[in-house]
Amino acid sequence: MIDLWVEGRVGGVDFDLRATSDDGPLVLAGPNGAGKSTLLRVVLGLARPPRGRVVVGGRVLLDTAAGVDVAPEDRGVGYVPQGYGLFPHLSARRNVEFALACRGLDRARAVDWLASMGVAEVADRRPAALSGGERQRVALARALAAEPVALLLDEPLAAVDRGTRRRLREFLAERLRALRLPAIVVTHDPADARAFGGRLHVVEAGRVTWDGAGAGAATPFVDDFFRAD
């Protein structure tokens, strides 16, 4: 379960936004600069709105009215950014070990996590020597190794070529379903939105202009988004 309420100016965007998903991931779409990435930063605790409330899996991470603001490292929210954010100076295995060490977990499990994503064989390679799909899986293994209570994926398929994209989309959708973790997925692709299930919210200029329930204005972006499908 994810419940977001963000109001006021954050990261150069004026927000007046409510977004909720009870079952399945919260899928966010919208034009560049609409505030999708800022929204993820708010959930991660790296940006703070003047007024807002962030509830993930029953845990209140931010509630400006009640003075609650959990530190980013204590939120337990896994994050896979657009470029995957792998530490370039560490091998795949050491990337996962970083997460395990941060949470005080057994480092020896790093290879198990990589294996669970089907990338155990690249454990000793650095990110620069991995394909786009491998990077994504390593990043996902690393995020999951920290035992998060929720997962944020920013444009998870934007950086891979078309052929890999479809396979990866199925893989991700299947994993998200199996994990049963609350998740927020930012995407530009209607096919992603459908594959991941959950509720699609179109965000424009800090507002939800379409929320999957049929309500909302038919903005040019919403029209285009579904026509592109």
Binding site: G45, E73, Y79, V80, Q82, G85, F98, A146
Partner: protein, 260 residues
């Protein structure tokens, strides 16, 4: 072909003049110092105390620069640019070293701002080895902070966001992510700062004086030796040259490549 020969020749002559100006003095120093003169010069009583003092003060100063300068650079890089503040920090790079020396006296001297407080504590800073370190740090640390700030700014901030989401505290982000990735640039900045400290002359002379064994570093020893014994000045110069060359080779060579 003919039309382009003129400008090419001119550019070659201009560039060549500068190149010659940069290389020839060094060549003259090396060629003009035969092994016998070097041995004789190195036997001068001012040489080894100055070598020891220079190595000691620049090492202590470099450690202080790294310890204090790295967090400062990190802090600067994580905030929106405050141009005026950064200009203020870079001022010692452009201010003549003699001015830095006078300014340090105005701060720590007996009649300086902190003078009475230091005297009450039984401390006297000017004309001590500590003053040498202080002068070197003030003129050289800005070079390190400048390059470290630029290096940190050049890193992908998403890496820090990811690290925090994995449970890393801010200090762990700095030590485990930012510093290791920026390491080649940090080493480069540290080397430039160290070289600047090793060559420090003006601020040291004014603030720390020229006391053999206590505040007479290698550049000051060259200056002093020049008045009595040219061979000693030559020998010390060659020593400094070798040290600097070693540093440059280490930077451009395996060290820089190895960590990059």
């Amino acid at each position: 072909m003919l039309r382009r020969a003129g400008p090419k020749l001119l550019a070659g002559a201009l560039g060549g003049t500068l190149a010659a100006l940069l290389v020839l003095p060094i060549a003259a120093l090396v060629v003009g110092t035969d092994p016998a003169a070097l041995r004789a010069g190195l036997a001068h009583p001012a040489v080894w105390p100055a070598v020891r003092l220079s190595l000691l003060t620049t090492t202590v100063g470099l450690l202080a620069t790294l310890l204090l300068g790295t967090p400062l650079a990190w802090w600067l890089s994580r905030r929106p640019r405050r141009r005026w503040f950064e200009v203020l920090l870079e001022l010692p790079i452009v201010v003549p070293p003699a001015v830095v020396g006078v300014a340090l006296l105005m701060l720590f001297g007996r009649q300086g701002l902190f003078g009475p407080a230091l005297a009450d504590a039984g401390l006297r800073l000017p004309f001590t080895s500590a003053a040498v370190v202080l002068a070197q740090v003030v003129v050289s640390a800005p070079l390190y902070v400048q390059s470290a700030t630029a290096a940190f700014r050049g890193l992908d901030p998403e890496l820090f966001a990811v690290a925090r989401s994995l449970g890393a505290t801010p200090s762990r982000v700095l030590l485990g992510v930012a510093i290791p990735i920026a390491l080649p640039a940090l080493i480069g900045g540290a080397a430039v700062a160290w070289a600047r400290a090793l060559g420090e002359f003006g601020a040291t002379l004014l603030f720390a004086g020229n006391l053999p064994g206590r505040t007479q570093t290698l550049p000051l020893a060259i200056y002093t030796a020049l008045e009595s014994d040219l061979r000693a000045a030559q020998a010390i110069s060659v020593v400094l040259l070798v040290v600097a060359l070693g540093l440059l080779l280490a930077l451009r060579g395996p060290l820089a490549r190895g960590v990059a």
